[in-house]
Each structure stands twice: as C-alpha cells, then as structure tokens.
C-alpha cells in the first residue's frame, strides 16, 4: 500500500514537474525575431560594422534585463556587403523564411530604396539606418528611418558659413552613393542659402592622393571654404593634402566624419575641421540635464567596454532603430506587427542617440534640425562649435 502511494506520489511529482516545465517553456516559447541587414563588410563597412556590433550588444542587454513584453529577442543578422542585390534577397529571406517582426537597416540608402517597396508590400516594418530623404518621402506606411537627413546636415553647414561670412565655396565629393547624395544636396540648397559653388569636383572613392584636386581648388579664385563629402580614407587625405599644400581656408566635412578613429587618421591636419553631427561625439561635454545625456553616456560606456573601440554615430543609428522596435513591441504588448507599427508611428519624445524622435503619420524621420549640432576639431578632440 505504501509502495503504491509512493509510486503515486512520484508520478504526481513528475506530472507536476512536467506541468511546471511546460508552463515555463510556454512563456519562453518563441523569442521575437528581429531581422537586421547591415553592410558588415565591403565598401560601406564603416557603417555596417559598428551597427552590427551595436545591435548584438543591445539585444543581449535587453534579454539580460528580462526581454521585451515578456518575450526574449532574437537577432537575425545578415551581412549585405553593401550590395543592393544581396539586401533584396536577404530581405525576402527575413520576410518569408525567418518571419521576423521587423527589419532594422540596411546601412546604405541605395540598399534601403531597393527593399522599400518589398517591405511595404509585405507589411514588414523597416527601420532604415540610412540617411537619404527619399526613404521617407513619400511616406510608406511601414518604412521609418533613424538618421538625421542629409538636408539637415547641409542646412547646418550653410548656416555656419553664413555666420562666418563665407559666400563662395568648393565642393569635393567621392564617386559613391554617399558622396553623390551629399553633392546633390549641397548643389540644390546652395542658391537658397546664398552660397556660390565655384569649384565642384568628384574623385574616386579609392583615391590614394588628392593633391592635384586641392591644387585646382587653390588656383580657383574666390574659394572661401571647402566642403568635402566622403568617408575614410579620402576624407582624411583631403584634410592632409590641404594643409600640406597650404590651402588655408576652413574645411567642412559631412556628418560621416563623426568617428574619433577618422580624426586620428587625419591627425594634426584635422585641426579646425567643422562638421555637423549628433551629440554622441561630445557626450562628455553635455550638461547633466541635457535630455540625451543619460542615453548617450550609457551607450558610449557599454559599447566601448564591449568592443574596445570608440563609438561612432553609425552604431548609434542601430541602437536607435533597435530601441524603437523594442519600444513599439513593449507598447503593443506582443509581436502583432500592425500594432507595433502603430505604436512606433505614435512615438513622441523618444530619446535616442541621434536625437529626440517624434514620429507621426506624415513624418517617418522623427527628428528636427536640433538633432544635429556643429562640431569642430580642437586639439585633436571633437568639441561643440559655438559662434564666437
């Protein structure tokens, strides 16, 4: 009799244990998958590599803190190599096979434009980490973006020029998507800003030396400043060649300059370089009551501790994209894609690294001019440029 009771007790215990296990398993049943398309390698690796590192770190942090809306997150990361064709095929894979809740990325505007329609058709949330205006203009219901717009960067540059009394400039840009977008924006907005472009040169992305172009700028009469729109190594080569050849006019760079590593590459030649950027680069100088201070300081500290390299604005884009999806998921209470999308569109005053986001049905960038600030290189460090 006792033996039977014992058996029963054991069986009961096992049953209870099983039931307990299955309840636990049920609550953790499926993690919420989030797709990520980043150009981890290839020509846009300067964008994609810090973005991928950031995304991995943030997902780990969110999961360590108990997940979002009671669910764990799972990052499905694909390296597009910066190629639009790969971005399209990976996006299809994320939509059809992985059935992710949302896609963050791609890193470049070219890739984003290739998958914009695809995501819209499949009602897939896309939070792009690329800057071009066309991504959100016209607005597509499911497509958002986090970086500041190119036009905002140009507005800041032209505004600073006005303050300094600069009226005629030389524009240098690289022959890739980033350079071409900046060049077009600079040309389009020059007339309205009262700026005259007297020299306009495009050079090879892989150029090894640009002293001939700098010579040309130097011999062009009336150049009061140079704007360069490219990434490393060219953006550092321009700075060095200008100083080596004694072209002593202010050098403005794009927001692509916002990485301490690039500053280091240009060395002394970068001194005095002006460029628009988010506040991630000057977080230590921000007053404690600045609304972005806490988020920026935490991201910078965590990233640098995890990867032993300086943060870049681009990594910040991935941070913002992922946190926006997570916030949408939290507000929607579960991975219902349409509810999450609505929650994202209604985000107001959401503090990210790029600025403070206020999305609406007509504005899928969510940032205003204030998200940028003009920075200057002083004694080998980025500092805020205040009009003297």
């Amino acid at each position: 009799m006792t033996r039977i009771l014992q058996h029963l007790a054991t069986a009961g215990g096992c049953g209870a244990l099983l039931a307990l296990l299955s309840v636990r398993a049920f609550s953790q049943l499926e993690p919420v998958k989030i797709g990520a398309l980043f150009a981890v390698t290839g020509p846009a690796a300067f964008l994609g590599a810090p973005e991928a590192k950031t995304a991995r770190m943030v997902v780990e942090q969110l999961n360590a803190a108990g997940g979002v809306a009671g669910r764990r997150l799972e990052l499905v990361l694909k390296d597009t190599g910066g190629s639009p064709e790969k971005a399209v095929s990976f996006a299809k894979q994320l939509i059809d096979e992985d059935r992710v809740l949302a896609i963050i990325g791609p890193s470049t505007s070219g890739e984003t434009m290739q998958i914009k329609a695809l995501c819209e058709e499949n009602k897939m949330i896309l939070i792009s980490c690329a800057a071009a205006e066309v991504i959100v203009k016209p607005v597509a219901k499911y497509v958002f973006k986090v970086p500041q717009k190119d036009s905002q960067a140009v507005t800041w540059i032209y505004r600073t020029m006005k303050d300094k009394g600069i009226g005629s400039i030389a524009v240098l840009s690289s022959n890739d998507g980033f350079g071409a977008a900046g060049k077009k924006q600079l040309e389009d907005m020059a007339g309205e800003a009262g700026i005259k472009i007297v020299a306009d040169e495009v050079y090879d992305r892989q150029a090894t030396d640009l002293s001939d172009i700098v010579t040309k700028v130097k011999s062009t009469p009336g150049v009061q400043a140079v704007v360069n729109w490219s990434i490393v190594p060219a953006q550092s080569i321009v700075a060095k060649n200008m100083r080596q050849l004694g072209l002593e006019v202010p050098l403005f760079q794009s927001h692509g300059f916002a990485n301490p590593k690039y500053l280091q590459q240009a060395g002394l030649a970068a001194e005095g370089t002006l460029f628009p950027a988010g506040r991630l680069m000057i977080v230590d100088d921000l007053p404690d009551d600045h609304p972005q201070k806490r988020v920026l300081a935490a991201y910078k500290r965590d990233y640098e501790a995890a990867y032993h390299e300086g943060v870049s604005t681009f990594g910040g884009h991935a941070y913002d994209a992922l946190m926006i999806v997570a916030e949408g998921l939290r507000r929607a209470g579960g991975p219902d894609r349409d509810k999450v999308r609505d929650a994202i569109e209604n985000l107001k005053g959401f503090v990210g690294t790029d600025g403070i986001f206020n999305y609406s049905a007509t504005d899928h960038t969510g940032l205003d001019l204030d998200a940028f600030e003009m920075l200057i290189v002083k004694q080998g460090k980025f500092t805020s440029y205040k009009k003297q």
């Binding site: 590599a49 050079y203 030396d209 011999s219 490393v232 080596q244 590459q265």
Partner: protein, 297 residues
C-alpha cells in the same frame, strides 16, 4: 599662385601619385621577369605589408616594424608559391595568372578577418600630417621623398641583383628560356619561389612607405594593383627602371588632366594614354624587344 608655380604644383602632385604607382609596379616586374607570370595578387602584398607593419608598430620602433613586415610578407610569398604553384602538373602562364587572381581574393578576405574593415596608417617617417617641403611656391609632403628614395634604391638594388649576381642571372635565364635554363642546371622551381618571395618583399616595402600617404585598409590592394599594372605596362614589362618611369608618367598625366578636365576623368586620361602607347608600341615605352612572348613554360 603664379602660372609657373601652379604648373610645378600640379607636377609635384603627379609625382606624389606616380611614386605610389611606381612602388607597386616594381613588384609586378620582378615576378614577370623571372617567370613570365603577371601576379595579380601583387596589390595584396602591398596591403599586407602595410597592415603587418601597422600592427607591429604598436610594439616596436618603426624601422623594425617595417623590416619585420617585409620579412613576414616575403616568407608568405614563398609559402604561397610552394603551396599553390610548385605542385602544379600543367602550368601554362594562363593557369598561373588565374591562380594569382584567386589568391588575391583569398588574401583580401583573410585580411578582413585577421584585422577588420578599418582604415589605419603608419606615422609619417619624417614630420607629420601637415608638414611639407616648399620650393618655388609649390609644396610636397616629405613622405613623397621617402617613397621616391625607396623606389630609387630598390630599383638600383634590383638591377644589380639581376645583372651581377648568380641567382639574379639564373632568374633571368628562367624567364628567357626555361628549358635551356633547366638544362644548365638551374632549379626552375626554386627560382620561382625566390621570385615570389622577393616581389612580395618589394610589395610589402611599398605598402609601408606609401601607408602614411594613401593609408592602409584591406581593400586597397586591387585598385593599387590596377594602377601599378598600368604603370608597369606603360613603362614596358620586364624592366624595373621602366616601371618607375611608367608610374611617374601615369601620375603626372592624371594630375595634368585634373588641371584641365573635371577630376572625375583622371582615370580616363591615364588609361587613354596607356591604350595609345600600346597601339603604337605594344611592348611599352622601354620594354625589352621580346616582351610578351617569353615564358610559355
């Protein structure tokens, strides 16, 4: 700027670019002289030289880092030859060239994973990012003088080696008539290993001296190899001195085109000149007469 100093400034800009191309072109020439093979992975040796030197420079003095990089990449060059070329049953020149294309891709990917996608550089050998030498109203970075000096010294040493030493002569013999060289007791395979090692060393040295100017990253090899190749062809394959002249010429043509045309056309100008020269003079400006027919081993 006056007209004359402006022209001089363009010339010096051309020399700056050209010195980089020349440094890369010398390595092309050596393997070609010895084996008749165009090593399309030459740009990757340049890249690796720079990468290794930058990494070593964290721990040791600059001259040691550069020497170390040259030795390491030279050994790698020998190793690649032993692994991928020595065992080949049939080795027509075409086979060998295609293998070098494969090697170039593999080395690029390996560099991406060993290091990362970031751009790095060696410090300027003399002065810094903003220093320049001035004369007659024009300016040039002191590093260009280093590149030209290195290129000059290398060419002289190479010329001496090929003309006056036994292994150098053996190397030339392999190129001009492999079968006769073999009959004379020259070990063709060892010569090919030696030539790969040497040209890897030359590439690595180039990668180090140009690093402060061009900066070093995993993707730099291919575009440099294309320009270096153009320089070597323009000068005439098989003649190291001609490679240097070819390199400088390509650089100066590019700078001259920038002075008149939009900068976007500078590659067009360089390659149009290359094509014109090849139409009129297929062996290049200073190439040996039999160039292009040797080495069908």
């Amino acid at each position: 700027m006056t007209g004359a100093s402006l022209a001089l400034q363009y010339l010096l800009s051309g020399v700056t670019k050209g010195s980089v191309y020349a440094a890369v072109a010398i390595g092309f020439n050596l393997i070609y002289s010895a084996t008749g093979v165009l090593n399309l992975a030459q740009g990757e040796f340049v890249m690796l030289g720079g990468m290794v030197a930058v990494s070593l420079a964290h721990y040791v003095a600059l001259p040691v880092a550069v020497t170390g990089a040259v030795v390491i990449v030279a050994l790698l060059g020998c190793l690649l030859e032993i692994l991928f070329f020595r065992g080949l049953r049939r080795h027509s020149v075409l086979h060998l060239i295609i293998i070098t294309i494969g090697l170039s891709i593999v080395m690029q990917e390996a560099a991406l994973h060993l290091w990362d996608e970031k751009v790095r550089s060696l410090p300027y050998f003399t002065g810094n990012e903003v220093s320049s030498l001035h004369f007659l109203g024009a300016a040039i970075s002191p590093q260009v003088v280093w590149v030209l000096g290195t290129v000059g010294a290398t060419v002289l040493a190479l010329q001496g080696f090929l003309q006056f030493t036994l292994p150098g002569r053996a190397m030339r013999a392999c190129s001009s008539n492999p079968e006769a060289a073999m009959l004379a007791g020259i070990n063709l395979r060892n010569m090919r290993t030696l030539s790969f090692g040497l040209s890897a060393a030359l590439g690595a040295l180039a990668g180090c001296v140009i690093s402060p100017i061009t900066m070093t990253h995993y993707e730099m090899g291919t575009p440099l190899a294309i320009k270096g190749f153009a320089a070597a062809i323009l000068g005439g394959l098989g003649n190291p001195m001609a490679a240097v002249l070819g390199g400088l010429l390509v650089g100066v043509v590019e700078a001259a085109s920038v002075s008149r045309l939009p900068a976007a056309y500078n590659d067009v100008a360089a390659f149009v000149i290359l094509l014109l020269v090849l139409f009129v003079r297929p062996r290049g400006l200073f190439g040996p007469r039999q160039c292009g027919t040797v080495g069908e081993g």
